[in-house]
Symmetry: C2
Subunit: 442 residues, 2 copies
C-alpha cells in the first residue's frame, strides 16, 4: 500500500477542462503542495496550474495512477498501465457494480490480478496523505491531523472532510475505497496499523464481505491504536437502502454489533460522534476507572453533565472528608464542596487549577466546565488547566462553552492536549466510550 | 407582566464603571436600540453611552427597575421604589437563598407584597424582548426570533444566548428568573401564552415548587403553542448538585418525566436538542403520521438517517407500485425507486422537486438530504424545495450537509420555512418528538 500513500509521482487520467474531475484533482495536488511529480494526462495536451498536460504516458515513471475517465475506456487503460509496470491505481469513475455492471467490475479485477496491480475503487472519492501533501481527490483538502479516515461511501467521505474543515479537525490519511473491487478495509487498516502518523483509525462501512478476517485483524490492531466504526444499515429500511446503493450485503445489525464489541472496536452512531470520540482518543487512549469529577464555574451545565454521566453508567461520587477539608483551605467559603465542584461565578484560573490538582487522586477523569463571563480570561484558565494536567497524570476534558469569549481559550487547551466539547454531555459520551474500552484492557 | 417586557422606561441601579454590570447593561440597552427611556442611576453622576447618569431617581417615571447593587443595600432601595409606585423590578444581584441567606430573600418577598410590586430574581441574568429592543441584561443580545426562552439558571441562560448567536438562532423573549422569590415559571408561561411574537416556549428548570399548578397551566397552553423543557437534576448526583446550587428540591426524576408527558410537554436532554426541536416546531407544530420519506443525492448519509428514523420508532416504507411507476417516468433509469429515494450524484433541483411532489401523498414528512458537489448549486435546490413545499402541504426538512458550498442554500431554505440540520439523524430526532406530540392531538 505504500505507493498509494507515499507515491513519488502521480498521474491523473481525466478531463482537464475547468470544473471537471481532472482539473479539480490537479488543482488540489498543486495547491496542496504535493512533494513529488504531478502528471496530468489527456489527449488534449496543454498546461494546467503550471503543469504540462501529457497526451500520452509512454515514458513517464508513474508511481500512482488516478483514473477518472468514462467507465468504458478503463479496462484498456488498465492493461496499458499494467504493461508499463504501474502497480497502484485509484479508479474514481463510477458505473460498475453499484449500478449493476458486475461483469465490467470483474474485468477490472482480472486485469489487476494479471499485472499484480492494486486498485482502490472504482466509484470512490480518492485518497489523501496530509504528511506528504498528497490530495488525489476532488474533495476538500484535509487538514493535518492524527486520525485516519477510510470510507466505503465517497459522498460520505466528502461530507466528513467538509465538516472536519469547519471544525478544524485534521486527518493523517484519507481513503475512499468505493466498490472495493480489490483494496478493501482490511488492506487499509493493516497499512494504518504501522503508520506512525496515525493514532486513531476511523472507518465508515455499510457492509463487510470478509467479516471474520476483519474482526481478527481489528482485534489485534486495537491493542496498538483504537478503531472507531460507523456502520450504516442498522434498520431494515437502512439495510434495504444499503444493498441497493453499493451492492453490499448489510447483514443483521445485531451480529455486527456483538462482533464489534468482541473485537474491541468503538462503534459510534454518526459522524459528529466520530469527531468527538476521535478527539478524545488522541489525547487519552485510556481511562482507567469510572469515577468522574466535574469542576465548574456554573451550576446548570454541570448538573446536566452529571445527569448524562450517571445515565451512561459512570459515577460522580462525593469527595472524601479528607479531601473536603483540604478544599476548604484553598477555596472561598461559599463554594460547594460536593461533586460537581461548583466554584461559582468567581471561579478563576487559580481556583480551577488548585481544585483539579487537589481532587485528582480520588477521580479517574475530570471535566472542567467553564461558562465565559466578560471579566474572566478563558486563556488564563486554559493555561492553568494545561499546567495542572502535566502534574496530575489524569485525563482532563474541557467544556469551555460557546461564544467568542472562549475561542482563544479553546485554542490554548488544544496546545496542552485537552480536548474541548461545546456541551459537557458530549464529554460524558466520549469518556464512557473510552472507559468501557479501556476497562477490558486492565 | 407587561411592564417587564414592554416598559416605557428602564432604570438601572448599578455600578457604571467600565466593565461593571451597570455599564454592560446600559451598553446593551443603548447599542440594542431600546425604544423607551434609559435611566442609569448611580450616586457617581455623569454620562454613559450618551445617557445622563442620575444620582437619584426622585422624579423619574420608572416603568421597570433593574437592580445590580450589593445585596445588603437592596431591601432599602426596594422600599424607596415601592413608595414611588414602581411595580416591576429585576434583581440581578446574587447573595440570597442560593448561598443560604434565606431570611434576606424573605425580606425581598415581604417588601414586594407590601407594595404590590413584582420581582424577577434575585440571582438572575435579566430579561430581553427583541421586539422592542429591550436588553436588560449583561448577556449577549438575543437575535430576533419566535422562541421564548426562560431559565432558572442565569449562567445557563448566558450559554444559551451565546450558542444561539453562533447558530443564528433568535428569540422573541428571554427571561432568567434565578431564585424566583416572586415571579416564577408559571407567571412567565402564562404571559407568553398570549404573546403573539412567541410561537414556541422553551424552559430550563432544575426543580418546580408549584408542580401541580405548572402542569395544569402547561396542559392548557400546549394546545396553543408547544412547550419544550430541559429539566436538569435527573441523576442522584445531579439532584444533589441542584439542591446545593439553587436551593430548590429536584425531586424524583421519573415523576417529572411522567408528568411532563401527561401535560404534553416536549422534554429534551440538552441545549442543542432544544435548538433543534425549536427550529422544527416553528415551521411544523404538527406531523400527522409516522411514514417518513428520505430523498437524497447521496446513499451513505441517507442510510444513517433511515437507521435513526427506524430506531426511533418511525417508519421508512417503500412507495406503492403506482408511485414507483410514476417516478420511473420522471427520473433517470439508474435511480433507486425505493425509500430512501437516492437520486445519485446527478440529482438536481428538478429531480429533488419532482420527487418530493410525487411522493408527498404517500408520506407524512420528507427529509431532503443534499450532499454538496462543486457542480450543483445548493441555492437552486433549496428554492425548488421551497416552491414544492407550498404545493404539497407536507413538512419538508432539510439536511444540506456541511461546508461553504451549502451556506447560501441553507439561507434560502430558511426563507421558505424549511429548517435545516447538519446531519439527517438530528432531523429524525426532531420529527419523532413532534410526531409523538401531535399524535396525541388527533
Amino acid at each position: 500500500m505504500k505507493s498509494f500513500f507515499n507515491p513519488h509521482s502521480v498521474a491523473i487520467f481525466a478531463s482537464m477542462k475547468e470544473g471537471k474531475t481532472g482539473y479539480e484533482i490537479v488543482k488540489n495536488m498543486v495547491e496542496g503542495g504535493f512533494k513529488g511529480e504531478i502528471y496530468p494526462i489527456n489527449r488534449n495536451a496543454g498546461e494546467i496550474f503550471g503543469q504540462k498536460i501529457y497526451s500520452e504516458f509512454g515514458n513517464l515513471d508513474i508511481s500512482l495512477a488516478i483514473i477518472a475517465i468514462p467507465e468504458q475506456f478503463i479496462p484498456s487503460l488498465l492493461k496499458e498501465l499494467g504493461e508499463k509496470g504501474v502497480k497502484s491505481v485509484v479508479i474514481i469513475s463510477a458505473g460498475f457494480s453499484e449500478v449493476g455492471n458486475i461483469k465490467e467490475e470483474e474485468e477490472l479485477k482480472n486485469v489487476a490480478k494479471k499485472y499484480k496491480m492494486r486498485i482502490v475503487g472504482p466509484n470512490c472519492a480518492g485518497i489523501m496523505n496530509t504528511n506528504c501533501n498528497l490530495f488525489a481527490s476532488i474533495e476538500v483538502r484535509a487538514l493535518l491531523g492524527q486520525t485516519a479516515f477510510i470510507t466505503q461511501s465517497g459522498a460520505l467521505g466528502g461530507v466528513v472532510l467538509m465538516m472536519a474543515e469547519e471544525l478544524g479537525f485534521g486527518f493523517s490519511k484519507f481513503a475512499s475505497y468505493g466498490n472495493r473491487c480489490d483494496v478493501d478495509e482490511i488492506d487499509l487498516i493493516k497499512y494504518l496499523e504501522n503508520d506512525s502518523q496515525t493514532r486513531v483509525i476511523a472507518i465508515y462501512i455499510e457492509g463487510l464481505i470478509k467479516g471474520r478476517e476483519f474482526l481478527i485483524q481489528t482485534k489485534r490492531i486495537v491493542s496498538k491504536k483504537p478503531i472507531i466504526v460507523i456502520k450504516a444499515g442498522k434498520s431494515k429500511a437502512g439495510m434495504r437502502a444499503t444493498s441497493s446503493h453499493t451492492g453490499s450485503l448489510a447483514g443483521e445489525d445485531k451480529i455486527y454489533d456483538a462482533a464489534f464489541k468482541q473485537a474491541g472496536i468503538l462503534r459510534v452512531d454518526n459522524v459528529s460522534e466520530m469527531f468527538d470520540l476521535s478527539r478524545g482518543l488522541i489525547d487519552y487512549p485510556n481511562i482507567k476507572g469510572n469515577r468522574i469529577a466535574v469542576v465548574t464555574n456554573s451550576g446548570g451545565p454541570a448538573v446536566m453533565t452529571t445527569d448524562k454521566l450517571e445515565e451512561l453508567g459512570l459515577v460522580v461520587p462525593e469527595p472524601s472528608e479528607r479531601l473536603k477539608n483540604k478544599l476548604k483551605k484553598i477555596l472561598s467559603p461559599n463554594v460547594s464542596l460536593g461533586n460537581p465542584f461548583d466554584l461559582l461565578a468567581y471561579g478563576d484560573a487559580e481556583n480551577f487549577a488548585s481544585t483539579c490538582e487537589a481532587i485528582a487522586p480520588e477521580y479517574d477523569a475530570i471535566i472542567a466546565i467553564f461558562v465565559p463571563t466578560s471579566f474572566m480570561d478563558s486563556t488564563k484558565i486554559a493555561r492553568a488547566l494545561g499546567e495542572v494536567k502535566k502534574k496530575i497524570n489524569k485525563p482532563i476534558f474541557g467544556s469551555f462553552m460557546a461564544g467568542i469569549l472562549v475561542k482563544e481559550g479553546i485554542e490554548e487547551l488544544k496546545k496542552y492536549g485537552i480536548p474541548n466539547y461545546e456541551i459537557g454531555e458530549r464529554c460524558a459520551q466520549v469518556i464512557q466510550k473510552i472507559y468501557l474500552q479501556s476497562y477490558k484492557n486492565y
